[in-house]
Amino acid sequence: MDPVIFLTQILIPALWQGLIITLELVLLTAPFGLLLGVGIALGRQYGGRVLSSLCAGYIVFFKGCPLLLLLFMLYFGLPTIGIILPAFTASVIGFILCNAAYNSEYIRGAIKSIKDGQMTAAQALGMTKVQAIETIILPQALRRAIPGLSNEFIYLIKYSSLAYMITVVELSGAGKLVATKYFLYNETFLAVGIVYLALVTLTTFGVDRLEKRLAIPGMVQKSGR
């Protein structure tokens, strides 16, 4: 087949459709993954013994369990106990649960890196612990966690590809279908790869600029991986 025709009439439209699904998966997951991650980090750091242990357990489970297995559980496993989720929904839920576990570790590291004196001063001024966390700790912790959180966001972009294994035709899936149909494996997958590389590179640039915009003079930004 004429390469140009293949490219413009088959590959690009197919990958475009897939890319849209990928973006939907990622953009739906990211905010909830962040919110849940903050919640788990706070629970782990400030919760009582029960809450803290529950959060620790959550982290151990969702970091140790492969994402693909989690997706299988949600899509193939849940129906056997009566909960039937569409593939897309199951994917998003799985991504959120996993993303939150990793996010919470970065956020907790950032929280721990803030000097004790900040919490002390806030409480001395009459703030409750909740108020202090809300106005003093979190704003600083979230800034410090940006490198780690953006790292996880990039992982999210890449691992969204696993949704194909539970029938969601996102970018990788679209590529596989085209490759299999036309026996053009190298070309197709390299094209898919280029799209991912573009996504990842763009995100890295975007995050760099975000970090600079949010930076506060003199404030330590690092919180290591």
């Binding site: 001063a121 806030a122 001395a124 001024l125 009459g126 409750t128 108020q131 003079p217």
Partner: protein, 247 residues
């Protein structure tokens, strides 16, 4: 005010592990007094201050602010802390906020003041400590003395009945120390009730209503500054004052 004393400390005890840091401390403070605590390092003076606003919980004893009991009040401690200000050796300014934001945040969040009103009050307090021109600077951009003054303004913005100073100038160079002590002296003269832990004898001599010498977790001697510093009665006090004078 219903009581003669704005602050009453009754028989405070505190252990850390098997170390007894506070050994039964009791004293009373009248409104407008400036009490300066002196003594060797590590003898419980800072712990005493932290027990007053319950940042450290005493094992035994009571603290009353204006006859309201502060000890053992559980979650309501936040309310009492609004009436007791604290200035720390390391300033503890909020790094992500500018100077004026540091000062106004507690009034806005805790007292639920309107932002415009809180901003006005914050600028007033900054003016009071001479930092109004640095309102929009971040803590990292301020010198130690400037940061500490902002920290004082931050406490003042809550209109406390008492302010506790925990070695406020110990982390500062001598030149920066002076600007902070000046602010504190003004505060004392204007009638603020202050409890100050410090090594600055000059400050004690000029504005203290009473000097308390503490050692080993106990009050060894207390009295007007002239008496304690010139004519200490207790041998330990005499020894300590003698050492300080050598500087």
């Amino acid at each position: 005010m219903t009581s003669e004393y704005i602050l009453r400390i009754v028989d405070l005890h505190k252990n850390f592990g098997d170390r007894e840091v506070l050994h039964g401390i009791s004293f009373n403070v009248k409104k407008g007094e400036t009490i300066v605590f002196i003594g060797p390092s590590g003898t419980g003076k800072s712990t005493l201050l932290r027990c007053i606003n319950q940042l450290t919980e005493p094992d035994k004893g009571h603290v009353f602010i204006d006859d309201d009991e502060v000890t053992g009040c559980g979650y309501r401690i936040s309310e009492y802390r609004q009436r007791i200000g604290m200035v720390f050796q390391n300033f503890n300014l909020f790094d992500h906020l500018t100077a004026v934001q540091n000062v106004e945040i507690a009034p806005i969040r805790v007292r639920k003041m309107k932002p415009a009103e809180a901003r006005k009050k914050a600028m007033e307090e900054l003016r009071r400590v001479g930092m109004q021109d640095w309102a929009d600077h971040y803590p990292s951009e301020l010198s130690g003395g400037q940061a500490q003054r902002v920290s004082i303004a931050r406490s003042l913005a809550m209109d406390p009945e008492v302010i506790l100073f925990d070695e406020p100038t110990s982390a500062l160079d001598p030149e920066l120390t002076r600007e902070v002590l000046e602010v504190m002296k003004d505060l004392a003269r204007s009638g603020m009730t202050m409890l100050v832990v410090t090594h600055e004898m000059g400050f004690a001599r000029s504005v203290a209503t009473e000097v308390v010498f503490m050692e080993g977790g106990q009050i060894v001697e207390q009295g007007p500054p002239a008496e304690i510093m010139k004519n200490p009665k207790h041998p330990r006090t005499r020894e300590f004052i003698g050492k300080i004078a050598e500087h």
